[in-house]
């Protein structure tokens, strides 16, 4: 082990290298946001429209995956019922770090018009949310803008955030 003190700030080296690695990693992460298909209700239709040819999500590198193991973005599109809350948590836990969540539409944000016993009043009661999209349903443009916002957020983050996963509690 080296006996002398290495001053990384002064000698350049590590911080510079880390910044560059950060940039490269975040470039990769922000431009290949693979989303878990999570259409729960009518908002899911708009999410599907965003993925189809007219709005063409693929050009942002956002491809819908059917498995949580292959996804790092969860677009919760629709009404989350209390019966389903358990499963959304399980699927969220199965996604590999780093992972992000977009809550799409009023229902996912706050329970929306379903002010009843059977609807979870906002998915943020169950999983941590990065971005809330307003609307009932938000148009595909909104979802695309949301993904671009999320890309900016990812690029601002440190690439090694895998060590500190987001926690609800």
């Amino acid at each position: 082990m080296a006996q002398h003190q290495v001053n990384y700030l002064k000698d350049g080296g590590l911080p510079v290298a880390l910044t560059t690695i950060d940039k490269v990693v975040n470039w990769g992460r922000s431009n290949s946001l693979w989303a878990l298909t999570y259409g729960l209700a009518c908002c899911g239709i708009e999410m599907m429209a965003s993925g189809a040819s007219r709005y063409d999500f693929d050009r942002f590198g956002t491809i819908f995956r059917a498995s949580p193991r292959q996804a790092e973005l969860m677009v919760v599109a629709g009404t989350l019922t209390k019966k389903h809350a358990e499963f959304i948590r399980r699927l969220y836990d199965q996604m590999a770090e780093p992972k992000w969540v977009i809550s799409m539409g009023s229902c996912a944000n706050t329970g929306g018009m379903f002010n009843t016993y059977a609807t979870v009043q906002g998915v943020d009661r169950v999983i941590p949310v990065d971005l809330y999209l307003p609307g009932c349903a938000p148009r595909p443009e909104t979802l695309q803008y949301g993904v671009l916002m999320l890309q900016q957020k990812i690029r601002r983050e440190s690439a090694s955030r895998a060590q500190k996963p987001k926690r609800l509690m």
Binding site: W27, A85, T110, T116, G122, M149
Partner: protein, 268 residues
């Protein structure tokens, strides 16, 4: 003295208080006004007790004893050509008379007639399943159990159908609050995180329009983003909406509207 309001029916409220107002009733006609229904009613009366029978909106309503439900429906299916059970469920009259009303809506394709069999049971009483006669009763009876707590005898799979298996309470009863009781309010928190998480997660916000505009811990307004936790009670700086950071992004080319080609001829 305060006016007495019954506490046993949480959804009941005087939505119409004009004391000269009379609730409209659908007219009831005598069964003898329809030859087909008269025959059907005679056939039922020959074997079972009929408490009441009338015609409402061109459909015959026959009120029978709850114990006869299987026999009456079997007879109507096999002998009277009522070959479809289009709907069945219960109605909660617990507050008024302490009973559930069970109805079976039947259709005869060949006679082009609909009739409704009704019977009443007590709250704790159960009823015979008609699933052997009509497969459609399978899920309807499960739903009736799920929503009202009416237990159906001889059903092959008596289990909740819509609500989770470990749900408490029967949501379509008049005594069940629309926004759920305490069990419902904490259901997902209790199930996923455990009861001790209730304090951390907090009660449900049942007012979806409520927004704490100055809460920068949990929210950033689009176009007005500030670092987390900043005090913005004196206003926040305006940041224009951008699709990409202004200084450009590593390895990503910025979109230039000048250089793009606009296709105006769609049939090209």
């Amino acid at each position: 003295m305060r006016a007495y309001t019954p506490k046993d029916n949480v959804q009941k409220k005087p939505y119409y208080t004009d004391r000269y107002w009379v609730a409209p009733q659908v007219a009831k006609h005598d069964v003898s006004s329809d030859a087909v229904f008269t025959d059907d009613l005679e056939a039922i009366k020959a074997q079972f007790d009929v408490l009441e029978a009338y015609i409402q909106v061109d459909q015959m309503v026959v009120i029978i004893n709850a114990a006869d439900n299987f026999g009456v429906i079997e007879m109507l299916k096999n002998e009277r050509a009522y070959n479809q059970l289009s709907e069945m469920s219960a109605i909660d009259w617990l507050a008024d008379e302490g009973k559930f009303e069970i109805f079976y809506q039947m259709l005869s394709m060949s006679k082009r007639k609909r009739l409704r069999i009704k019977c009443k049971i007590d709250e704790k009483e159960s009823i015979q399943s008609v699933e052997k006669l009509f497969r459609s009763a399978d899920w309807s009876e499960r739903e009736m159990y799920d929503m009202f707590g009416v237990i159906v005898n001889n059903h092959p799979f008596m289990k909740r159908i819509l609500m989770p298996d470990d749900w408490e309470g029967f949501p379509l009863r008049k005594t069940y609050p629309l926004q759920g009781d305490e069990f419902a309010a904490w259901y997902e928190v209790d199930k996923i995180f455990g009861k001790e998480a209730r304090e951390i997660i907090g009660p449900e916000n049942r007012d979806p329009a409520r927004i704490d505009r100055y809460d920068t811990e949990r929210f950033a307004r689009l176009g007005h983003e500030v670092p987390r936790g900043t005090d913005i009670s004196n206003g926040e700086p305006d940041t224009p909406l951008v699709y990409q950071e202004s200084e450009g992004v590593f390895m990503i080319e910025k979109f230039d509207a000048e250089k793009s080609v606009v296709i105006s001829d769609r049939d090209r």
